[in-house]
Symmetry: C2
């Protein structure tokens, strides 16, 4: 397998699949290199996933955290963007295949398609406990959360009302913690006083985590600090709690020997991820080695062992050449791998010696709520105000486009001083979802027993 | 029929159906009155419809022009908001019925549910020529417009590419003119330079109007000015052109005796409206008189002749007691009727003499593009810069919430100086729409003839 199928008139062609942090940073770095770049994505925008939970809870609009890929890459004269889905890779012909007969040849291929939800073999849970990976997921969560309050306002059945005002978040990692904290602020502060028949301050937000503490990768002190912050916000934190079933809007979980159940209309999944579909394509078609959750095991230079011109970066890669575990799936790793692979390919094209990849861990940040965050910089651990301030600054800084930064800053400033959340709109299947909710079975309770009521 | 079913302990109950300009302004005015108010809407937000075309063309986000009804009315202690769909009115029992067994009794009822698209008996056109009334309509248009460029970038079939880059707007009223002008700016300025295989400056935008000039209700000089502005922006303006068919992405229209056809992937409908479903309910259930498009003919005090405590306001009302034609269906009329009806009901409750309604026509404004607008103040007619400035100011001023005003001002400022449009994201059925477009028949042209291409 050779990468030198190009000559002076046809520059080395780098094809990148996926415009997330890994793919986009690779494309940006290659913008001035003597190569041709084609970035393929199913979406026409880069999504700033770390803030997706703020769309799900009505603090930000979808386009606040989405930057059109064409706009971001417009300055790069060597770069094309193709919107479409890659369905196959032909390593022999050095081509990727899209639907509708489109075939794109490559000299180097970078696969950066990330991960999707994982229900650990219980895919039937996905219907009642949706996850949060895409803009559509966030809009779906926002619709469910806000519709639950609307339905609660309309019913006089006490048990049904309680179930509508119960929100279970499964998974105590950063996304779960951020979702639970923001949900508590939404219910207990933002919505407070806007309803006639319900007191949104009485909404229950329950965070369920399987291990013995929230934010497991963080230092134990910070996990404890995060837990206390959540409790202060009114979140019920259940650790060492293994979810065993989700059915009829009832979450069943085990705490040691004890089995507990919670009736909740709204159940949100923030617990597990698995490789996106491209992992399987790489496994099936070019024999790439996959790990337990389908991620692709890569070489020290991010390539696939049998195919030195095919690279996998970001969440889809299992990179086990540093530390005693594979690198975590987060934006920082993906960005660094994206920039590395750009340098690596440029070195190959220029026939110089490529550098080795080394992940620089600048630490972790998670936000729980207003003034409440934790920062684990290894040499320094912060919590509260200062961590919250750093979190805010870092997230604004890394938003790709300047107009996103400006709008998000203003929106956050406004939300901060008023406790309001401007993007609390229910869109899409708005009536359908509300009416399904009103006609739903929760546990053994049949809705037929609910009486017709007059709004007080 | 009596409105005095209340006493000291149970205040007069005003039920409002619809939270548009008419319903919301009525609710706001009644906020300090000695009545109880219930506002029912299918949506949880008030929509600033005059700017919907900016969502459809990627300039603004949905939540920029949507204000949560509960937030807007939070200060009004006498007001409840109910999210749901009214399916029936029982005038005998003085109650409205919602789905799922909810019944709400009223002393006075205000119906303000507006209008929806009208295809003049050709409902089959709606599939290929969607209209613009809801947030979902705008997101759908945005998806189609942006996807057409994405599909054009991918095909090498010249005829297919031309059809993908042709955009027909049907209807030369304010919405059609605004859509066509913004589409031209989007294609010829914003997207210019972002694609590799197409020149978006060559996109055709064709505006088709049945009468002999655009903006028919305006003074003829302003219609001509608007037409010249559109032409300057690169829009092809076809007046006296009656659309006779829309099929296989071909628009057929008659100009005098001549029949013409245009192949266009994207066809947008801005031509006609008819009464919303509540019009029929009022006609069927309480014998209200309906006009040709289903609007409810109202008395001078906005009530229905046979039911003095049921009022219809806004676009759904046919109010023919001023001038030689019914009042036009626009935000200004709806707002004034909303405020009037609040005063009217308050006067009835206080048993004082209600004032008469008189619509104050402050004139009309329509924007065509950057620095291009027309303003018809009757005594004064403006075009160009000054009209554009007034248009901008008026639209910011009337946005319901302060955070919307702030965000829209900044977004517009940013768009103005950079020619960018930050909300250019394709959401919802993103891949499905793109793939359908790529596999579509246009006119007699079968897509099977398109060859597989390699992206250059």
């Amino acid at each position: 397998m050779s990468t030198s199928t190009h000559n002076e008139s046809t520059p080395h062609h780098v094809v990148i699949i996926g415009g997330g942090f890994g793919g986009l940073y690779a494309a940006q770095k290659l913008g001035k290199s003597p190569v041709k770049v084609t970035l393929i994505d199913k979406r026409n925008f880069h999504l700033f996933q770390p803030l997706l939970y703020q769309v799900a809870t009505g603090s930000l609009s979808p386009s606040d955290i989405a930057s059109p890929l064409r706009a971001v890459l417009a300055e790069n004269q060597n770069t094309s963007v193709v919107m479409g889905e890659v369905i196959d890779i032909d390593a022999q012909a050095q081509a990727v295949k899209l639907k509708n007969n489109l075939e794109i040849k490559y000299d180097s291929l970078i696969v950066a398609t990330g991960v999707s939800h994982h229900y650990f073999g219980n895919d039937q849970w996905s219907e009642q406990a949706p996850g949060l990976k895409t803009i559509e997921d966030a809009i779906n969560m926002r619709r469910r959360i806000l519709s639950a309050f609307e339905a609660a306002e309309k019913t006089h059945d006490r048990q049904f009302k309680e179930a509508l005002m119960s929100f279970v978040v499964i998974g105590g990692g950063p996304t779960g913690v951020e979702l639970a904290g923001t949900l508590a602020e939404l219910a207990h502060r933002t919505l407070s006083g806007e309803f006639t028949n319900i007191d949104t301050k009485k909404a229950r937000i329950i965070l369920i985590e399987g291990t013995d503490r929230v934010l497991p990768p963080y230092h134990a002190d910070l996990s404890e600090a995060a837990k206390q912050s959540l409790i202060k916000l009114g979140v019920e934190v259940r650790t060492s709690a293994m979810v065993t079933n989700i059915e009829d809007h009832v979450v069943t979980f085990k705490c040691g020997d004890q089995v507990e159940q919670i009736q909740a209309q709204t159940i949100l999944w923030a617990a597990g991820v698995k490789a996106s579909a491209m992992g399987k394509v790489l496994g099936d078609r070019i024999g790439a080695e996959l790990d337990r959750v389908g991620r692709v095991v890569v070489q020290p230079d991010m390539s696939i062992a049998t195919h030195p011109n095919i690279y996998v970066i970001g969440d889809l890669a299992n990179y086990a050449h540093q530390g005693d575990r594979p690198l975590p799936g987060n934006a920082a790793v993906a960005m660094q791998q994206g920039e590395y692979i750009a340098h690596h390919i440029e070195a190959k094209v220029k026939q110089t010696e490529p550098a080795k990849f080394k992940y620089q861990d600048f630490g972790s940040l998670a936000v729980i709520g207003r003034h409440e965050a934790v920062a684990d910089f290894k040499f320094l651990r912060l919590k509260g105000w200062l961590a919250w301030f750093i979190w805010t600054f870092v997230h604004i800084y890394y938003l790709i486009e300047f107009d996103n930064k400006l709008i998000v800053m203003i929106q956050w400033g406004w939300n901060y001083f008023t406790h309001r959340r401007g993007a609390r709109i229910i869109t899409g299947k708005y009536l359908q979802v509300l009416e399904e909710m009103e006609g739903i079975r929760i546990g053994g309770l049949s809705v037929e027993t609910r009486e017709a009521v007059e709004v007080a």
